[in-house]
Amino acid sequence: MKLFDVKLLTITCEILAQKNILEILNKHGITGYTLYEVDGNGSKGIRGKGFKNEKNVKIEIISTETRLKDIVEEITRSLFSDFAIILYLSDIQVLRPEKFI
């Protein structure tokens, strides 16, 4: 079985930044992502207790390195100063690379 190298971008952010991030993804032509609500603790204290507005979400996007780097650049520039966001890129392998271009 042949596996192809692509990148996975994982973004953990406060739920109120979700819309801004999805807008950025949309702008860069990303149509596929996985999103789930999560709890956690960080520099801004325990998240996800009480109000729904205070929850965190985790968004996963698989694509090529160039495209993901553009997205990371835009998120860093426009959202890092105002929202709680953690993001990282990792190497993964997929079976059908044409799905993630």
Binding site: L16, K49, G50, K52, N53, S81, D82
Partner: protein, 364 residues
């Protein structure tokens, strides 16, 4: 009426006791917690019940006498928001974003506070004007829109002055600043659309319409859910609010003494002005108190959702903690009895002309 006695009696009502239980549970780090679905459901239920009652009342009393109180409420809310901003910016030395965010949080209304007020009146056996539910709905977006509008103006002014101070011909810098302008300016029409189509307004206005259409006969069939369960539902919801407020008590130290004083004194001032103005407009004893409560309450459910997008530079820990951790408990435990007392004092004065005199003296 004895204010202290009334406060004491108010603390011993189920609604407030549940709130205190929530705070205690959070302080002793109990794992007591409302299921997510219920804590999302309860605000919707409360707004639906308030809306239905408002609609029923409006069917009985008509729209005509609600216009003036509503316009007055909007006017007061705008004036208060500007007033808050001046106090916060100049006396409190907050930055422009935090000042506007806090000013609008306190200028906006709290639907939860409003429902607690209704159950407080129910407990005292006092009626209030049902159309105040419609005022609640209209007031919700008003002060946010003002604050966002003013923030945008201030931001674009800042950027203009920055542009002027830059040396000519530095294209790169110019591009950067215009990029910044695009980011920091929030589209007013987008915010307007978001706050008007927000779930709180839709359910509230929708239920006012439903209440108006169905009338008392239609309401009979659903009254067991929307009337008899109302106070009980508030009690459960306040347990949840108590837990959330209790978890934030530690943060109060971080907001500073000025903001603590602000979040107690300003609601008191706004609320009493509201009661006096409403009395002058001819609202009933309970109605004037609810009007005062509208002026006094701070928004802590709608505010974070709106402000986090509209003024993302403002620190949410400031406006959520002060509105929920300080103002909300103060409003429901202490300010409600105070406003009811003020309202009953001014209602016992003779005739409306005297009331205006009283008000004039007070405002001077």
């Amino acid at each position: 009426m004895d204010i202290l006695g009334l406060i004491q009696a108010n603390i011993l009502t189920p609604v407030v006791l549940f709130f205190i239980l929530g705070i205690v549970a959070a302080r002793i780090r109990s794992d007591l917690k409302m299921p997510d679905a219920i804590s999302e459901f309860l605000p919707i239920y409360l707004l639906a019940a308030i809306g239905l009652h408002g609609g029923l009342e409006m069917r009985n009393t008509g729209f005509s006498n609600m216009l003036i109180p509503m316009l007055t409420a909007i006017g007061l809310s705008l004036v208060f928001t500007l007033n808050h901003y001046q106090i916060l910016r100049h006396l409190g030395k907050f930055n422009i974003f935090d000042s506007y965010a806090l000013a609008s949080t306190y200028g906006a209304v709290g639907a939860v506070t409003f429902s607690v007020g209704l159950s407080f009146l129910k407990n005292q056996g006092i009626e209030s004007e049902g159309y105040l539910a419609a005022v609640l709905a209209v007031l919700e977006p008003v002060s946010f829109i003002l604050a966002i509008f003013l923030t945008n103006m201030a931001v674009s002014k800042q950027i203009q002055s920055k542009k002027q101070s830059l040396p000519e011909g530095t294209l790169d810098n110019n591009e950067k600043t215009s990029g910044m302008a695009e980011q920091s300016k929030t589209n007013i029409s987008k915010v307007l659309h978001e706050s008007i189509t927000g779930k709180a307004i839709v359910i509230l206005l929708g239920c006012i319409a439903i209440g108006y259409i169905i009338g008392d006969e239609g309401f009979d069939s659903i009254s067991i859910v929307f009337d008899e369960l109302f106070t009980g539902a508030i009690a459960i919801f306040l347990l949840e609010m108590g837990i959330i407020a209790g978890q934030r008590l530690d943060d109060i130290k971080k907001v500073g003494a000025f903001l603590v004083a602000f979040s107690i004194l300003l609601p008191t001032f706004n609320g009493i002005i509201g009661v006096l103005v409403a009395t002058a407009l001819g609202l009933s004893l309970g109605g004037a108190m609810m009007f005062g409560l509208l002026m006094a309450s701070a928004s802590f459910i709608a505010a974070p959702a709106v402000l986090r997008h509209a003024i993302p530079q403002a620190k949410p820990s400031l406006y959520i903690t002060s509105a929920l951790g300080i103002t909300f408990p103060y409003n429901i435990i202490i300010l409600l009895p105070i406003m009811l007392t003020v309202s009953s004092i001014v209602h016992n004065l003779d005739g409306p002309i005297n009331l205006f005199n009283y008000l004039g003296i007070n405002l001077l």
